[in-house]
Symmetry: C2
Subunit: 307 residues, 2 copies
Amino acid sequence: MSEPIFDKVALIGIGLIGASLAHAIRRAGAAVHVAGYSPSAEQRAVAKKIGFADSLPETLGDAARDADLVVLAAPVGAFAGIAKEIAPHLKQGAILSDVGSVKSAVLRDVGPHVPAGVHFIPAHPIAGTEQSGPAAGFAELFDDRWCILTPPAGADAAALEKLKTFWQRLGSQVEVMDAHHHDLVLAITSHVPHLIAYNIVGTADDLSSVTKSEVIKYSAGGFRDFTRIAASDPTMWRDVFLNNKDAVLEVLGRFSEDLSALQRAIRWGDGEALFNLFARTRAIRRGIIDAGQDSAAPNFGRNVQKK
Amino acid sequence: MSEPIFDKVALIGIGLIGASLAHAIRRAGAAVHVAGYSPSAEQRAVAKKIGFADSLPETLGDAARDADLVVLAAPVGAFAGIAKEIAPHLKQGAILSDVGSVKSAVLRDVGPHVPAGVHFIPAHPIAGTEQSGPAAGFAELFDDRWCILTPPAGADAAALEKLKTFWQRLGSQVEVMDAHHHDLVLAITSHVPHLIAYNIVGTADDLSSVTKSEVIKYSAGGFRDFTRIAASDPTMWRDVFLNNKDAVLEVLGRFSEDLSALQRAIRWGDGEALFNLFARTRAIRRGIIDAGQDSAAPNFGRNVQKK
């Protein structure tokens, strides 16, 4: 096993992502000491029982003090308050990063609180499951997934390189990108898909002509796929939408425009327009499977699992 | 193993569903002879190689002749033509059924061609994968899934019972429902979800500000889930939308209305409205897992599969 990259890593937040980071750091031997912070005594107790952190301090200051890498892994709406509180405790030369799903807002909210001599490099691992909390974490979550770093202008090159190495050691591929472009890319690959999933599940729940029991029984027709991401953490996702408003509204506008055209094609019986779209979308699935970003097994492999 | 239910079953169509039926019938010993029909010599050759059918006649008449159960398993847009062509060959007392995803249109298109003395009982197994063709079929496809029968008024009770027993032997649970209600239920549990999935994949494909390579690389953020059902058979799905227009437009109208409200909540920063919806949708996922209609494993079990 290679040398540890950091002496102390502080994870501010030990939900699905924070806990998975702790597991992955240990698997990779990427740090000597992992401190996990949660404001919830209950979450700390779960973390203690699982044992993925070397320490579970009760205050933000204790967690951040002496850390070589501090990772914000809480809902992004809480970042400004956390950054303000940990700022006086950050060590000179430390790297301050995060795992938030939006990046322009993180630069805006956290940037002003970063002390001189601390290297602020936001990051976003494109990985997750629909589950939440410390018990949901596992070391393999970041394997073969992409982690996007969005360093602000003039970021320290050595710190950037170190963070890149860190994520690669956890199993990820790393890309460096402008925060604004990140937010647009994620609006289409993650945020709007989640919004649509939450929305269709809500629509189904509200229909009075079809009962909830019918929706559940016949969900294998396609609906069940949407319920998975619509079971994701509500606080995290509220904060994503509040903090990536422009890009989400832009992509959502396009989605709705395209959906209106499909609606019109159905109304007027334009089978050719429908067929052409339906035939075109297969290629993207193929690209995702070829790129190792999804399973090639039918039904995501659900049928195989059953046996 | 129990007695065969039918002497000869004719499957008109040997794609994913027809081929899976053949496998499942053999596994259950539900028929003495399974005839599989495809107009495509290539598909017949694949079926012959796999060996899931006892015969692979080259004409519709040869397939249907002497069959005790004839199952239409082609895209629903082709049903009227097929029904007309097989009608003279149907045996007295035979059951004519199908596996189409819409049911009112099937009653409308097939009903007029059904000869006196033949029992017409439409059916819809709520099962499938995103793959197509004879090689995609497997015996377990219908296990624990629901099959909905939509007998027309005055349908023969004994024939209905026999078809019900048949589907149960293949591993399914059976529900009897009015065709019109079926079409509304499936609009929300299957048809609109597919339309939305096709649509978002199309929107992503058309964005000029985000490259196709970026969409593929970062698809694990949620987008990849949609690409699975957007890889389903284009002809089948074109026919579904052309033949369930009213129910699809009704549910789509509700979906768009709800999405506009979410869009407004994002624009005005109404975090409470977002949180309330996101918290509510988890319950439906739980219901689906409890009902055995999806895997409880995170990410549909993709992470487990990897190892």
